[in-house]
């Protein structure tokens, strides 16, 4: 099978940490550590611990969990925004490119991964866009990084991406600062797609948008997936979004993966108490 990403034992602790951190923070199973993700001894936050999964080519993998469960942390470690404390991440292959906790990532490798192989859509458009650079400029920045040199070709590619993401072409030279939330997300998506990545990381991409805009964005994601076959890791706390898009789904709680399965199985026959609660709250 054709693997795009494999994550193993990914662990990230915010704070000084102590030997009790990982044992002290549980997965919500009765008698298995305390509730919450803060170490009772040193107060560090265990944002993710021992997380492992794989994404295949063309697959949409959902990642759900309540606020603070560690979803964004996993995403940011994969995108090399954060350095994990333990574990490793393999891109493509095997052998592929392997990034291990504690090892410095070569600049060239970092560039290859962040600018070519992956695209990221952040929960907060401010993190993913330069709001005072035109929409076209935001996209050009990425194309430049991927060695697009010809200005005419770049503009053409940028306008192609905008129309793909249903942004009116006459907005190409406007600043994203003055765009609506839905429009900012579209520019982020266009930017993330600029270099034909093989993996898109999507963090709460519809949160804070009104329902009809949400539906349009989800629609867009689906049609992009269909036409490009790009793999996606889709983080959301909204199970309806997951149901619409994901083939398989992971459930996180307190930094741990508590359940993984086919999306319909997670929704109709959840095994873990926490997943049952989550599904129940939706119904």
């Amino acid at each position: 099978m054709n693997s795009v990403l494999a994550v193993e034992k990914l662990t990230k602790v915010f704070g000084n940490g102590c030997p009790d951190c990982l044992g002290g923070v549980g997965d919500g199973q009765e008698g298995n550590g305390q509730e919450g993700n803060t170490c009772p001894r040193c107060g560090s936050v265990v944002a993710c611990a021992g997380v492992g999964f794989e994404i295949l080519r063309g697959e949409i993998l959902g990642l759900v969990g309540e606020s603070g469960s560690g979803k964004s942390t996993v995403l940011r470690c994969i995108y090399l925004d954060l350095q994990p404390d333990a574990g490793c991440i393999r891109f493509g292959g095997p052998p592929g490119i392997v990034v291990r906790a504690g090892e410095v990532v070569d600049m060239e490798v970092r560039r290859e991964l962040r600018w070519r192989r992956m695209g990221m859509v952040y929960q907060d458009p401010k993190a993913g866009l330069r709001l005072d650079v035109t929409a076209g400029g935001n996209i050009a920045e990425r194309l430049l990084a991927a060695d697009f040199r010809h200005v005419g070709a770049m503009r053409k590619r940028a306008s192609g991406l905008l129309s793909r993401t249903e942004i009116p072409l006459n907005r190409l030279d406007d600043l994203p600062r003055y765009f609506s939330g839905g429009m900012q997300q579209r520019v982020q998506i266009a930017k993330a797609l600029a270099n034909n990545p093989e993996l898109l990381l999507l963090d709460e991409l519809t949160t804070g948008l009104d329902v009809s805009v949400q539906a349009q964005i989800l629609d867009l994601i689906k049609s992009i997936q269909r036409s490009t076959g790009v793999s996606m890791l889709l983080v959301s706390h909204d199970l309806r979004v997951i149901r619409m898009l994901a083939h398989r789904t992971l459930v996180m709680k307190n930094g741990r993966l508590v359940e993984a399965g086919l999306t319909d199985q997670i929704l109709e026959d959840p095994q873990h108490p926490y997943t049952q609660l989550l599904v129940n709250c939706m119904a």
Binding site: A215, D219, Q265, D269, Q276
Partner: protein, 259 residues
């Protein structure tokens, strides 16, 4: 040739929100299905019919037992097969039609039906042409092909559902009351489509609520009662099958007796 061997299948739900209450839905269920056979599943409401179908499709995680499936690529146990392999089996080998369509917002009827073909990598144009053909055969009015099933009546949605389930011509087709709530003419169209699938050697496991469907379509019927297998009949014996008369055909029989 046998396609499926189900052995000792059990499913117990553990409801953690209700203090870990356990619900036994299936217990020690064993049966075989031959390649190309139409196996009917009968039983009263709550007897475990849908649970059985969902265990085979793996929407439910079986708690016990095995379900050996012989595919062209060898035999696999559906009960323990990995999620990724199940996804591929669903794409290439097994289909499922439930009683209700799950319409997606902003997706037209035509696109919903074309989707399974696109998932198989068939190009957009061909997928749409075939989708039109299947919608036509399922009897959905042409004027609805490009509108959203979220707005359809139950019967119209069900036509989309059937077309979507059959378009990829699965070798194993799982049906859960696909004709419930349809009027006579609509139901006859579906029956014709199922008969044709049967002629193409599709193996079918189907739950129905009216006796007539079993008599017309099934080669064999198994009966579930409180999650356990209570009987099996084939060919001419189906008509006189105990549970069928008592359970599903009840109303019909009663009326006949009164007249």
């Amino acid at each position: 040739m046998r396609l499926i061997e189900v052995r000792g299948l059990g499913k117990t739900f553990c409801l953690h929100l209700l203090g870990g209450k356990r619900l036994r839905a299936l217990h020690e269920v064993s049966f075989d299905v031959e390649r190309g056979e139409f196996l009917g599943v009968a039983g009263r409401s709550g007897s475990g019919k849908s649970t059985l179908i969902k265990c085979i499709y793996r929407t439910y995680k079986p708690s016990r037992g095995s379900m050996l499936l012989r595919t062209p690529d060898g035999a696999v146990d559906l009960a323990s097969l990995g999620d990724l392999e199940i996804i591929m089996l669903r794409r290439d080998f097994m289909g499922y039609v439930s009683q209700f369509l799950r319409p997606l917002p902003r997706v037209t009827a035509l696109d919903m039906v074309a989707e399974p073909l696109r998932e198989r990598g068939i190009d957009d144009y061909r997928a749409r042409v075939e989708a039109e053909e299947y919608l036509e055969r399922a009897g959905l009015a042409k004027s609805l092909w490009h509108s959203y099933p979220t707005l359809f009546s139950g019967g119209e949605q069900q036509k989309v559902n059937i077309a979507r389930g059959l378009i990829s011509r699965p070798r194993l087709l799982l049906l859960d009351e696909p004709t419930a709530g349809l009027d006579y003419a609509s139901r006859e169209r579906i029956v014709a489509m199922l008969e044709e699938a049967k002629e193409m050697e599709t193996t079918i496991i189907g739950v129905f609520h009216d006796r007539e469907m079993f008599l017309r379509l099934a080669d064999r019927v198994i009966l579930l009662e409180e999650g356990e297998l209570r009987g099996s009949a084939s060919g001419g014996e189906i008509a006189s099958m105990e549970g069928l008369r008592r359970g599903v055909g009840e109303e019909h029989e009663l009326r006949a007796a009164c007249e």
